[in-house]
């Protein structure tokens, strides 16, 4: 049960039965879905010689009847309108329509009405409606992402669109895996409850025929939780490879855009970081920064040896061997350059922003106790000129989340200092965060200081010392997964929807975080899966967060909340 191979299988099935030269037409969402699991060269092998977006296809009217058109779209009303305009004047020989989610009957009627020339050969639903970035990690691209933080009354239509997109995406994931889950949600989150209920309605009532799969012994579990239960993880700076690249530079659909951080030669402006295609990345994506440095150095040494032997061409045989190995050599060269560039740029950023000391304080705030020491450390860093505004804001937020109730005076001092130091700081953002995700709103034990057991565990850990100060934080998700493995996820905190019930432990669990996942959490999931406890976890979210995106969501939500008159 792996999401990347499910998505790939769908695309294979779409292309395999249609012979001849094809053009593949996608929309802005399905482009992401297809690009992460299928490469251009694989498309060429399947005789797909043109890939276009549906809006640019409709602009020209040149006839290319020697091509067969394969459309792979989301069943949105816009796409149906595009098709409705194109079908009466077909440009291509044959039309094969594939939709990534459930079509409404009215949409089929509209399409049938407009197919005057009878060029449509098939209309199918192939449920690849999610972006499968890693084997156990998927995401959606949901517009107006910040809306989950606001109550539904503020903007009901946007919230409805958000929920619809999430529910459709989750339905597609389960259809791809051919299972129907039992659904639990986080009690304290309205939007999680809404999504859970709507998903249940879809899977058990509206389309129960579609979801009526062969029942295995134990149904899988879908757990819908809210990002605001763990606001600390997206705010922290990361030190493991994949998470660090996303935090410092930014990864979108497994692509890294380096143009934003400097000038690079044309072929290094954008690079691909995919665990399926890059074995070095697969081996190192969860390693910490120090180990990566060593592994890259080893890779560079190997490569230098190979290139030295390539330059030393004496005999005909050497030449023949060189030409034989040239493609491999070129691939290796490209790969080495990519990783060296990434690590170099990240080192530069770490030095510029003094992230070593900032991150140490962050980890202390997130993991260990000592309010007084924490206050001093944060104040020192706020006074430090070389610390950036973003980092200052993050530090104050982490402090506020941890010591919200401990010493209001000192908290107020920090707010004032932050406002005076940071020019671009939107006032009240930290307070807004506390209103959204403060200690009253959270039910779990984020810092391990509510539950007696956790306090004891933390003390023991403090005495033992940690292996690496920078990676000591465990996201809350880790605790949730442990509870599921031990069968101790409390019904009170995470109730079942309706009258679902589950005896014993599930074997497959999908955890969906409304508000976005982080790569630190996906790493946690991957490591948990590697432990072979008999339960397989898959993580999904409405986007993949880093601190910048999380803060942007907060700012947007704050702006909308302020401008709306219904919010108190």
């Amino acid at each position: 049960m792996v999401v990347t191979s499910s998505a790939r299988d769908y695309i294979n099935r779409i292309l395999q039965d249609i012979s001849g030269m094809k053009v593949l037409i996608l929309d802005s969402q399905t482009v992401g879905v297809v690009s992460v699991v299928y490469s251009q060269s694989e498309l060429l092998q399947k005789e797909v010689f043109l890939v276009e977006l549906i809006d640019s296809i409709s602009k020209s009217s040149e006839s290319m009847s020697h091509l067969k058109a394969v459309y792979f779209l989301r069943p949105t009303s816009e796409n149906i309108q595009f098709l409705r305009r194109q079908l009466p004047n077909p440009r291509f020989g044959e039309y094969h329509l594939f939709f990534s989610n459930i079509l409404k009957d009215t949409q089929i009627h509209i399409l049938a009405d407009s197919d005057e020339q009878e060029v449509v050969q098939q209309v199918q639903e192939f449920y690849a409606d999610f972006v499968a970035i890693d084997p156990y990690h998927f995401t959606f691209h949901v517009p107006s992402h910040y809306i989950y933080m606001l109550p539904a009354v503020v903007d009901p239509s946007t919230v409805q669109r958000f929920c619809d997109r999430v529910v459709e995406g989750l339905a597609a994931v389960f259809l791809a895996l051919k299972r129907r889950p039992v659904i639990r949600y986080q009690r304290t989150s309205d939007i999680a409850k809404r999504i859970a209920q709507e998903a249940t309605k879809l899977m058990y009532q509206e389309e129960s025929g579609l979801f009526d799969f062969r029942r295995m012994e134990v149904s899988p579990l879908l757990l819908v939780i809210d990002r605001r239960e763990d606001p600390v993880t997206p705010l922290l700076n990361q030190w493991t490879y994949q998470a660090m690249v996303h935090e410092l530079i930014g990864i979108q659909d497994n692509k890294v855009d380096l143009k934003s951080i400097g000038k690079f030669p044309k072929d290094q402006e954008e690079v691909v970081l995919s665990s399926e295609q890059d074995p070095f990345f697969k081996a190192n994506m969860y390693e910490n920064f120090g180990d990566i440095g060593m592994n890259i150095k080893r890779m560079v040494d190997e490569f230098q040896q190979v290139s030295k032997s390539n330059q030393n061409i004496q005999t005909i045989e050497d030449m023949a061997k060189f030409v034989d190995n040239y493609p491999e050599y070129r691939k290796m060269h490209g790969n080495v350059t990519k990783h060296v560039t990434l690590v170099t740029e990240m080192s530069k950023i770490v030095d510029e922003r003094k992230l070593m000391s900032v991150s140490q304080t962050e980890q202390e705030l997130a993991c260990n106790g000592g309010q007084g020491a924490a206050f001093e450390a944060v104040t020192n860093l706020l006074n430090n000129e070389s610390v950036s505004d973003l980092d200052r804001l993050r530090l104050v937020m982490l402090y506020a989340l941890r010591y919200e109730k401990d010493s209001p005076v000192q908290l107020m001092q920090l707010f004032n200092k932050l406002a005076s130091r940071s020019a671009k700081y939107k006032p009240g953002l930290v307070q807004f965060l506390l209103k959204q995700a403060g200690v009253d709103k959270r039910m779990g034990d984020l810092f391990g200081n509510r539950d007696l057991m956790n306090i004891a565990r933390n003390m023991a850990r403090g005495l033992k010392g940690v292996e690496n100060v920078y990676t000591q934080h465990q996201p809350l998700l880790f605790q949730i997964m442990e509870n599921i493995v031990k069968g101790r996820l409390r019904d009170v905190d995470y109730p079942f929807v309706g009258n679902h019930y589950q005896q014993g432990r599930p074997q497959d669990v999908i955890i969906f975080i409304v508000g976005g996942t982080t790569y630190e959490e996906s790493r946690s999931v991957a490591l948990q899966n590697a432990n072979n406890t008999g339960i397989r976890f898959i993580l999904g979210g409405s986007s993949v967060l880093n601190s910048k995106r999380f803060l942007k969501d907060l700012e947007e939500a704050q702006r909308v909340a302020r401008s709306s008159t219904t919010v108190v």
Binding site: S39, A112, D115, E118, V120, L175
Partner: protein, 321 residues
């Protein structure tokens, strides 16, 4: 993975709509154009092969009918190249068989095998060379941006196939070379052993037997010399074709996509197409503007006006005088 086929519903609704629409269209519209229209409708579903040249008899009805025209000419070129690649593939498998046959120790004269291998290798190399030249020509022609994209991608896919074939051929040839060399050495080694034994034997006997053995040794030596000369020639041939193929591969490598890089990403290709088309448009507009504003045009127009004025003055002068 679950899928659902909605084609049946779709067809049902489409037929229902068609039966409603057909009587309507026959009653409306002029008499002359309805005939061909209905003909078209019934012809189209049966002629769904992509190259069927359907031409409308009446150009005025082209509004309603679909002109399924011929595909562009480069498609034929690409088909030829694909066919040539297929032929080369078949020949390579023949060559493999010929290689293994030639390497088997045989009593007869294996000149035939050598010739077969040589001709096959030459044919394959020339096929690949020709395909490569034609492939380069594929991109030269012009067309719309979408058509050129399709052409570029077809070219890429054929280049990948061609490169794989060349690499395959070279690998097989170098394996054959290696085994040839091993055989040659082995043969010499065996010879050496026999000579050694011969000399040992000879040393025990008298001078008479010595002479006899050395004569045999001489003929054997001559034979093995001939043999190794032949083998050397073969090796040189193989090496020459290896060189040629290396050249082809180098030329092709610019066309081929490196897997796993950003160029291999579908969304990157879509974006770069749209940006390059936009860039092209911008450049064209700029060029148009500069041309319009160009001093040349102003000069030319003012000169023409001056000519007219002079002509008029000339005529006036003639009339008045």
């Amino acid at each position: 993975m679950a899928t659902r086929n909605r084609t049946v519903e779709f067809r049902k609704h489409r037929d229902a709509v068609k039966s409603v629409r057909a009587p309507l269209s026959s009653s409306a519209a002029s008499a002359s154009s309805t005939g061909p229209v209905i003909e078209m409708v019934s012809l189209l579903p049966s002629n769904r092969s992509s190259y069927a040249p359907l031409s409308t008899d009446d150009p005025s009805t082209s509004r309603d009918a679909v002109t399924v025209g011929l595909p562009p000419s480069w498609v034929d070129d690409s088909e030829e190249i694909a066919a040539a690649i297929q032929r080369a593939r078949v020949k390579i498998s023949d060559l493999t068989k010929a290689h293994s046959k030639a390497l088997l120790p045989s009593f007869g004269d294996d000149k035939e095998d050598q010739r077969l291998i040589e001709t096959l290798t030459q044919e394959i190399t020339s096929l690949l060379r020709k395909s490569e030249v034609r492939l380069k020509r594929l991109s030269a022609a012009s067309g719309s941006s979408e058509d050129s994209n399709v052409r570029k991608n077809v070219q890429r896919s054929l280049a990948i196939d061609l490169q794989n074939l060349s690499m395959d051929l070279r690998r097989k040839q170098s394996a054959y070379l290696k085994r040839l060399q091993q055989q040659k050495e082995g043969f010499d080694g065996v010879d050496l052993e026999m000579n050694f034994n011969g000399s040992k034997f000879g040393s025990r006997d008298d001078d008479f037997s010595d002479v006899g053995f050395s004569e045999e040794q001489m003929t054997k030596l001559k034979k093995s010399e001939q043999f190794s000369v032949e083998r050397e020639r073969e090796i040189e041939q193989v090496v020459k074709s290896v060189h040629e193929l290396a050249q082809i591969m180098k030329d092709l490598s610019v066309l081929v996509i490196d897997q796993g890089t950003i160029v291999d990403r579908i969304d990157y290709n879509i974006q770069s197409v749209s940006t390059s088309v936009e860039e092209g448009l911008k450049q064209l507009q700029k060029a148009e503007r500069t041309q319009k504003k160009g001093g040349m045009i102003m000069c030319a127009t003012s000169l023409v006006i001056m000519c007219f004025i002079m002509l008029v003055l000339l005529i006036l002068k003639e009339i008045l005088f």
